[in-house]
């Protein structure tokens, strides 16, 4: 550390070692077109995905653009309220803002008819029994409490159907991940079909 020399006027002043500068900014967030249409469906207790074209992927929840085509998603498709757990996490830590009793399970759920998993809670089953492939169904709030929010679905619960043993992870059909090199060939070239041009890829 270099020697710091202070002017005489600061000689006996206690040095400032840290400062706290709290900041708060308030925003008025608007949902936008795609999310607004999705949330209107929720108020009807319908889960409505969106797609860009008749044969492109169905996004739930829709964010406004299809990342494969770079296009808006004007076509609405109602998907099932039943789906498959594709991944999950058992939460064992309480954190700020959380109202859940631990342990609880947060899961990615691929609804039948959708190409994108939604994240939601799994309840009405012990946390250690949740597993990939488990079939689950939406549990809605009472009708009087339905609002334009995904929280109108309280959670998902096992629906008793046998496991989906061929659980399809969204994106798997164009490669399991960016790190998956195949025979020394980069994943983009080896596995990923370009949905716009139809070029490339070894998978369907």
């Amino acid at each position: 550390m270099p020697e710091i020399s202070l002017p005489d006027s600061l000689k006996d002043v206690e040095p400032v070692k840290s400062v706290r500068t709290p900041a708060q900014l308030d925003y008025e967030f608007t949902a936008g077109d795609a999310t607004t249409r999705f949330l209107r469906g929720i108020t009807q207790k319908k889960i409505i995905g969106q797609r860009a074209t008749a044969d492109s992927r169905v996004y739930v929840p829709p964010r406004g653009a299809d990342p494969e085509l770079g296009q808006a998603t004007p076509i609405e498709v109602e998907v099932a309220q039943v789906g498959t757990v594709t991944s999950f996490c058992v939460v064992n830590l309480q954190f700020y803002g959380s109202v859940m009793e631990i342990p609880y399970v947060s899961a990615l759920i691929l609804l039948d008819g959708a190409d994108l998993s939604i994240m939601h809670l799994i309840q009405e089953v012990p946390a250690d029994e949740v597993h990939i492939g488990m079939r689950v169904e939406a549990v809605w709030r009472d009708d009087a409490d339905i609002e334009p929010t995904l929280e109108s679905i309280k959670w998902f619960k096992p629906n008793g159907e046998p496991d989906d043993t061929s659980v399809r992870i969204p994106g798997e059909d164009h490669g399991t991940g960016l790190g998956s090199w195949v025979g020394g060939v980069a994943p983009t070239e080896a596995l990923v079909r370009n949905p716009r041009t139809g070029e490339g890829g070894t998978s369907k």
Binding site: L25, D33, R63, G64, D66, Q71, R196
Partner: protein
């Protein structure tokens, strides 16, 4: 240096508040139009670079979801700057200079409407001494304007003339937000907003988006008849502490202009990113622009001030005039930070 040109530019109409669309929905028309004008898709683009900041809309990692606008799957070569799109264009220009790629897409956007913009902008100040005071961006500009007046660099009448001319020029710009024909006397008759600034000296708060396509050499010549070649580009930054700077001049603009070669030829048109009227006059001096130069024919940032995009729009406005044959050589300037802290200068030129 490789020949690299702006071959396409698109922007969304500037609006005070785009409430019915999210950011990616607002951005898509700009990206699609910029690509469509030169008959290209994302599959023809070698590198994509965007400029935005999460602070404006208050949405974390918003640039990730707006990337969906281009169709980034399968993975593309892509980058993002927490800066105006003019700096994203700089990164793309450097990338193309490497010689591996021939085309780049640059886009940028912001929604300032969800938050309190002058307060949000305090978060770019130094977090120890200035930020905790929450000095809003208009008040800081007023400090600069007062220093400029005290130094007898110009008068309030000079500032009013800039404000009046900018809004009058904007009448010809269908994308402008503030456009009217109002005399200097009318402007001066308004009371101060934050002295010595009148409301007319200040920019509007704007939501919008813009996109540019860059191409190298023959690719550019194939796509457009008259590419707007980037002949020089440079950016410089000054200290974050306002007290360390002479606010009445723009030293960083002067250096950037010299490095970019502004004085190496005649300047027909200049688009200056000057959100406040006195800043245009500071910039004109720093760029050493003569009275014969057409300054801000679009109306400039006083007519539409899309944060994170107003700088790129300046480059696009100059490029459009060159491509249309209305100008042969032009200067585009972009700024960032309080009181013209950081400045980027681009020199664009058409083929003779």
């Amino acid at each position: 240096m490789r020949d690299i040109a702006v071959i396409s530019f698109a922007q969304t109409p500037a609006r005070r508040k785009v409430a019915e669309l999210n950011e990616v929905e607002m951005l898509m028309p700009a990206v699609h139009t910029a690509l469509g004008q030169v008959d290209m898709t994302i599959d023809d683009i070698g590198f994509t670079c965007s400029g935005s900041t999460d602070y404006l809309a208050g949405v974390g990692f918003s640039f990730v979801s707006t990337l969906d606008s281009v169709g980034p799957w399968p993975p593309i070569q892509e980058s993002h700057v927490e800066m105006d799109g003019a700096w994203a264009l700089y990164e793309a220009w450097v990338k193309l200079q490497l010689g591996e790629l021939d085309t780049a897409l640059v886009y940028c956007y912001s929604k300032s409407s969800p938050g309190d913009l002058p307060m949000v902008l305090t978060r770019q100040l130094d977090p120890i001494l200035t930020g905790p005071l929450w000095p809003d961006s208009v008040s800081l500009a007023a400090v600069q304007a007062q220093a400029w007046l005290d130094a007898e660099k110009g008068t309030e009448e000079d500032m009013a003339a800039v404000a009046a001319r900018s809004r009058r020029s904007a009448l010809d710009n269908p994308n402008a937000q503030l456009a009217w024909d109002r005399s200097v006397e009318d402007h001066l008759a308004d009371g101060y907003h934050i002295a010595p600034l009148r409301k007319g000296d200040c920019p509007p708060i704007t939501d919008g988006a813009a996109a540019i396509v860059l191409a190298a050499g023959d690719v550019a010549r194939d796509k457009v008849e008259r590419p707007a070649w980037i002949r020089g580009i440079d950016h410089r930054i000054e200290p974050i502490h306002l007290g360390l700077r002479d606010l009445t001049v723009s030293a960083s603009t002067r250096i950037a202009a010299s490095k970019a070669g502004v004085a190496d030829g005649p300047v027909d048109v200049a688009e200056l990113h000057a959100p406040f009227s006195h800043q245009e006059l500071i910039l004109r001096e720093a760029l050493d622009l003569g009275d014969d130069v057409s300054v801000n024919p679009s109306g400039g940032a006083l007519a539409a001030n899309v944060m994170m995009a107003a700088g790129l729009i300046r480059i696009g406005e100059v490029a459009n005039r060159i491509t249309a044959g209305e100008a042969n050589r032009g200067v585009a300037h972009a700024t960032s930070g309080p009181c013209l802290q950081q400045n980027l200068v681009t020199v664009l030129e058409g083929d003779a």
